[in-house]
């Protein structure tokens, strides 16, 4: 049962072939069985999951008509506020914090009858590409437990690949949904910025953070996308427009017909620094798409080369401000409050003890970049680069419908192999970051193996053209197939 797709499970539950409680229990059992080795979860909410499942069953008993994902288990990245359920963002500074409210996407998932089984591991405050910066220890890639599952949403991706849940929620600031999807052989979509509400997503970089759906198939991803997307009055940056019909688009793509679709290859991402196996799997897939009728052209996006440095100024700048609220005064960890120390000392000691090194590194970089006298040279300049990148995308989308690239230059690397050099770690997001700076949607879908490890294929589309991205992703899936990891 645990290997079924979300769509199939939802259909069986609706048809009363299996109860939501049985489905939840099967996944909870799987978590008990394998999560000691995978460590996808920071918190398993068995009680909450069974309660939610019973409610779904009760509604079905009464003959209520529920959505296609009612009763389907989901794993939620620990950066999403869940009412009454611990939410840490992978940080010691929030250890034990139980939000008094649900994130908007969480409320929407509850309304749709999704059953949350637990909160997944992540790099602290979503800063990282391997989960090795989680304050609670890394997650392990189900394809090879000595390797990273990607990051920051490695827990969500690992949970999918380990069949601990058929659906998961991630958040993508520079690739945190797509890169874990790529290295675990699963699907992860970053919707258009503003297409999914950020209300209740613990902010890392407000102008980039985007919550999105993760699953093992494109169609499941699209179904979850439909549940969580749409305008939210609680998020001022949320787009007040109807959600594109991504499920229909995925169905269309799955027919294997891309006639009339123009695909752009980004010249600047033509493989320098990428593993040969990754480039080979990518090129084979592009070749297969042309056989489905797609027209493939090369596109130049010259400013993409500056995306990484611009990102590493904008994201830390915003994070230096967003993370200021973690001071021990109102919630979370408090250190040094012995009744004698000053408030300033307590705030300072709390932050010293509560944040990990990568978080501190970025807070310091961001604080510096926003400082008077440096603002124009760093933050201001990075914003200009951002505008140029957006123009590159706009120009490209005048010529093609979507852009494609490998999701990440390399397959899952060995745990510990890149932690000593932040730049090597940052390179994991080389191909994913431009989209975040632009704001459009992008998805990673498996496209084969390189030396036995999954390779991800990235499809990028214009803002609010999420449906176009799903169509091409489903076509990729129709030629590359889904990947099955070795048994744990």
């Amino acid at each position: 049962m645990i290997k079924e797709t979300a769509a199939a499970l939802g259909a069986k539950i609706a048809a009363r072939e299996v109860s939501a409680v049985e489905v939840a229990q099967a996944h909870l059992d799987r978590i008990s069985e394998v999560d000691g080795r995978v460590h996808a979860f920071l918190h398993v909410d068995a009680e909450g999951a069974l309660k939610a499942a019973r409610e779904v069953d009760a509604k079905l008993d009464k003959g209520e008509k529920l959505g296609p994902l009612a009763g389907v288990p989901i794993a939620v990245k620990d950066v999403i506020a869940t009412k009454g359920v611990p939410t840490t963002a992978g940080s010691k500074i929030l250890e034990g914090w139980k939000p008094p409210y649900d994130a908007t996407i969480m409320s929407r998932m509850r309304e749709a009858g999704l059953v949350m089984v637990g909160k997944t591991n992540m790099d602290e405050f979503a800063m990282g590409s391997s989960t090795e910066y989680s304050a609670y220890g890394p997650s392990f890639n189900p394809w090879d437990l000595t390797r990273i599952p990607g990051g920051s949403g490695g827990g969500s991706a690992a949970a999918l690949a380990a069949y601990e849940a058929p659906l998961a929620i991630g958040t993508d600031t520079g690739g945190s949904i797509r890169q874990p999807g790529a290295v675990t052989g699963t699907v992860g979509a970053k919707p258009t910025y503003g297409g999914t509400s950020r209300y209740g997503l613990i902010a890392f970089s407000s102008s980039l953070d985007t919550p999105g759906p993760c699953a093992r198939t494109v169609k499941d991803t699209a179904l979850l996308h439909t549940v969580i997307a749409g305008h939210d009055p609680m998020d001022s940056t949320s787009i007040p427009q109807p959600v594109p019909d991504v499920v229909a688009a995925a169905r269309l793509g799955a027919t294997g017909d891309l006639t009339g679709v123009k695909i752009g290859l980004v010249r600047e991402f033509s493989g320098e620094g990428a593993e040969p196996g990754v480039m080979a799997a990518f090129r084979d897939t592009v070749e297969a798409l042309t056989k489905l009728g797609a027209e493939v052209v090369e596109i130049s996006a010259p400013h993409f080369l500056y995306a990484l440095p611009a990102y590493y100024l904008i994201a830390p700048s915003e994070c230096s401000s967003n993370l200021a609220r973690f001071d021990g005064v109102r919630f979370g960890l408090r250190v040094g409050d012995d009744g004698k120390r000053s408030l300033e000392d307590v705030m300072s000691m709390t932050r010293e003890a509560g944040f990990g090194n990568e978080v501190k590194r970025r807070i310091i970089v961001g604080t510096y970049a926003l400082s008077s006298g440096y603002y124009d040279a760093y933050y201001g300049q990075a914003q200009k680069v951002r505008t140029l990148i957006a123009r590159d995308f706009a120009a490209a989308f005048e010529q093609v419908d979507v852009l494609v690239s490998p999701t990440t230059p390399f397959t899952a690397f060995l745990l510990g192999s890149r932690t000593s050099d932040p730049y090597q770690m940052y390179l994991a997001d080389l191909y994913t970051i431009p989209t975040n700076l632009y704001g459009g949607p992008a998805i990673s879908v498996p496209c084969g193996l390189s030396e036995g490890l999954p390779v991800g294929f990235q499809v990028m589309a214009p803002t609010m053209a999420d449906d176009r991205m799903y169509r091409v992703a489903a076509a990729v899936e129709s030629v590359a197939g889904t990947l099955t990891p070795p048994a744990l």
Binding site: I80, A81, T87, A89, L94, W97, P99, P100, Y101, A103, R198, Y199, G200, L201, I202, A203, S205, S206, S207, P233, M234, D235, S236, T237, S317, E318, S320, S321, A324, R325, F326, D327, V329, R330, F331, G339, K340, S342, L343, E344, M347, T367, L370, S371, S372, Y375, Y379
Partner: protein, 496 residues
């Protein structure tokens, strides 16, 4: 410090003051700036809070349209240009009463810029130029327990009330006001008073300085004639109109003494003390905090629609200055009379008394006469003297209808000021009435004539001046409630 202390006159004789005012006004919107929490003043601590105004992880702000509208209306009333596009910005600094450790404010893109407000001081119109009007969120309130100063340093315990956190706050900043010389303190006061009246007229805030819904920071510097502006200080905690004037005066005198003694002025924040009228040094701005402003990424830019702004402009109420000019004309007053009404703070009171049915001249007489005297005696504002415009109008209508004499009216007013109720009720309670019933009067007169036969004889003989004795006797019998003029007429009639 010089040993021969300079007076204000000495200071003005030697230096030219430059002043500037930053005024914060809490808007009277139903809900807070970025969340739906209520804004009622005086609720129990931490009862008007939610994830947004507490800055809980994951929460996001959404701008309050009513607050934006109110700010634009203030800007329009101050003759500002309204930005076609602007953004909120984050002002980053750590302080426990700031839930997010940054304040959502505006920085280099304020909503309103380049306006002015004309104020009248000693019959002279002074134009105070407005640099900007912007919108931001208020902070919570911290109470530091223990420690000597009540400040954060040395406190053993700090209590924070976040009810105020997130209440919309409008900041109005003037350009430097130069060339006002000895009038500087009065210009500062007149500006704040005029600003308060404008905002009250707009109905967007209750602008009560004593409750903190209007707060003023006063910048002051001195320079020698012809030289560059001096280093300025920023005086905070200036919580009444009177204090605004005193704070400027105090700083002028203090700075002139430092400068003439060969010292230099430190750029710093100073605290004004209402009790002594002195200012003391606060934190130095020489090591200024770097607020690391940057555009607020959680909020979309503001782009007020030009047609909407035009609508708001067209719908502005008559502003105090225009309103006062019209009243002066309607009431037929000289500039001097109008000025004395303004100085007494009686414009609205007179206006409301007139609205309740009294004519302009009589309304003015009550408020500038008897009631002003009473207010001065007890040392309160005229508006707080204890009588309402409605009560004054009622009193006057009782006089006009002959139910009260002027003398009795003053007795009734006494009762009103004592809080005994409305005039008619006081008359009933105290048994005050004009004895106009001729039957009762005739009996009293007959009694007086019978008791004073020689006087009656004199009057019959044509000596009308002698009537005073009989009138006095009648007034005594009627306990002063008869109208003396009527009594006189009746006596003469009876003895003719």
């Amino acid at each position: 410090m010089s040993i021969t202390a300079l007076s204000f006159d000495d200071a003005i004789g030697r230096y030219e003051p430059v002043i500037g005012l930053e005024t914060h006004v809490e808007l009277g919107t139903q809900t807070k700036m970025f969340c739906g929490c209520p804004t009622v003043f005086g609720a129990d601590p931490n009862t008007q809070i939610c994830p947004v105004c507490l800055g809980l992880p994951g929460s996001l702000p959404v701008a309050n349209k009513a607050a934006i509208e109110a700010t634009i209306r203030i800007g329009l009333a101050l003759n500002c240009s309204i930005a076609q596009w602007c953004r909120f910005a984050r002002k980053n600094y750590f302080y426990p009463d700031m839930p997010k450790n940054y304040q959502i404010s505006q920085y280099d893109e304020p909503l309103c810029v380049d306006g002015y407000l004309d104020v009248t001081v000693n019959g002279e119109i002074v134009r105070v130029e407005i640099e900007r009007v912007h919108l931001e969120e208020d902070t919570g309130k911290t109470l530091h327990v223990g420690g000597a100063t009540g400040r954060i340093h040395g406190a053993t315990e700090s209590l924070v009330d976040y009810n105020r956190a997130g209440i919309p706050l409008v900041e109005i900043v003037t350009k430097p006001v130069v060339g006002t010389g000895r009038m500087a303190p009065e210009v500062a006061k007149a500006y704040v008073a005029e600003l308060r009246d404008v905002i009250r007229t707009l109905g967007v805030s209750d602008v009560r300085m004593e409750q903190g819904s209007m707060r003023c920071d006063v910048n002051t510097s001195l320079n020698l004639p012809g030289e560059e502006w001096g280093t300025r200080t920023e005086t905070k905690n200036v919580n009444s109109l009177r204090s605004v004037e005193r704070a400027v005066r105090t700083e002028i005198v203090r700075q002139s003494n430092v400068l003439s003694g060969g010292g230099h002025i430190t750029q710093e924040t100073r605290h004004f003390h209402e009790d002594t009228g002195e200012t003391t040094s606060g934190r130095s701005k020489e090591t200024a905090t770097d607020y690391r402003y940057f555009p607020e990424p959680d909020l979309v830019p503001l782009a007020p629609d030009a047609a909407w702004v035009q609508e708001l402009k067209a719908a502005l109420p008559e502003l105090p200055r225009v309103h006062r000019a019209r009243l002066q004309k309607d009431w037929g007053l000289s500039d001097l009379d109008m000025q004395s009404i303004l100085n007494a703070g009686a414009v609205e009171l007179i206006e409301q008394t007139i609205a309740a049915g009294t004519n302009a001249e009589t309304a003015r007489k009550w408020w500038l006469g008897e009631l002003s005297r009473k207010a001065n005696e007890t040392g309160v504002d005229l508006a707080a003297v204890g009588a309402t415009p409605k009560q004054v109008a009622e009193l006057q209508s009782l006089v006009d209808s002959g139910k009260l004499t002027d003398k009795l009216a003053r007795q009734v007013l006494e009762g009103v000021l004592n809080g005994e109720g409305d005039p008619a009720a006081i008359m009933a309670a105290r048994g005050i009435e004009v004895v106009s019933d001729t039957g009762a009067l005739t009996a009293a007169i007959d009694e007086a004539i019978a008791a004073n036969p020689e006087v009656a004889e004199k009057i019959r003989g044509g000596n009308q001046a002698a009537a005073g004795v009989l009138i006095g006797a009648v007034m005594k019998t009627t306990k002063g409630q008869a109208d003396a003029k009527t009594v006189r007429e009746l006596v003469l009639q009876r003895l003719s």
